[in-house]
Symmetry: C2
């Protein structure tokens, strides 16, 4: 069986050296991966658990778990012998997807769930309040908003990407964000 996660997508205007968002999405931007990872944060660790909670087909779950292990987002850990059985645990690479899922949850609760009908609430152990996460800059501690963010071609940008970024910035006549 081929366990690689193949894709024909071009996915990106920065062809040779793709944008980090499209790299992330190429890895976990399918229908299920982020939900599997979400369940892992909830404490689910075994094939059966993921399968029952998500309602995903076993075939696709097998493929996704293999891919996520290969991507070092999960690691397999033996929890039983004869027959050998493994649990799937998040690595630090996987655990660092927490901010992505948290900001997604925040947006979902704010824009998709009728007020007062949230299915999950997160409490912050530090203060006991309902969590309303906000993004701040590690350097100056000030909030990070689209208007305060300026995108520049990085060291790995292709000539093509640099041109396109410039073009976009000059066309829109304002700072480009992201």
């Amino acid at each position: 069986m081929d366990t690689r996660y193949s894709s024909r997508m071009t996915f990106d205007f920065q062809r040779e050296a793709p944008c980090p968002i499209s790299q992330l999405l190429e890895l976990v931007g399918d229908r299920w991966s982020l939900l599997i990872i979400r369940d892992a944060f909830y404490g689910v660790r075994r094939f059966d658990g993921f399968q029952k909670h998500l309602g995903i087909s076993k075939k696709v779950l097998t493929m996704r778990l293999n891919m996520l292990v290969q991507a070092e987002i999960f690691k397999k850990e033996l929890y039983q012998q004869q027959p050998d059985r493994y649990e799937y645990r998040l690595t630090s690479k996987g655990r660092e997807l927490f901010p992505v899922l948290l900001t997604m949850m925040r947006w979902g609760n704010r824009w998709l769930t009728p007020a007062g009908q949230e299915t999950v609430q997160l409490l912050h152990a530090s203060c006991g309040e309902k969590i309303e996460p906000k993004l701040v800059c590690s350097h100056c501690e000030q909030p990070v908003t689209p208007a305060r963010v300026q995108a520049m071609p990085g060291p790995g940008a292709s000539r093509e990407a640099v041109q396109l970024l410039r073009q976009i910035v000059s066309k829109s006549g304002k700072k480009s964000v992201l």
Copy 2:
């Protein structure tokens, strides 16, 4: 033509009242939506621009843009008459996806791009430094990490969801996160 975005997925163990993350993913969790929105943050506004930058097929782009307009993530604005032509602009609902894309970009740069080969760099206008966003709690200003977050069933949680959350928490023997 049917412009609705249909899906057969069960997608969720909280069947009747799904988790905000799965709600978000059901809306923008396909191969393209988040990349279209990313391009909008870069300043792209027109059908042609999205199509050229992304390499997406026109058919799917049409479907996605219609869906995103219906979801009020984009709004159409007339920029020319005879024939009528529209631009696609982010609404505030769409603009508030910024933290999601920013944390994605952060993770992609950290875990998928070789150090020093980033294709995009973000500068913070407030301090001029490269942005390293971090999540803090709006109430106590302390960092929000998986270990400091406790998930509770919200007011809209189904009985089924409450049971599952309890079960997960008691099984894993530790605080559940997310």
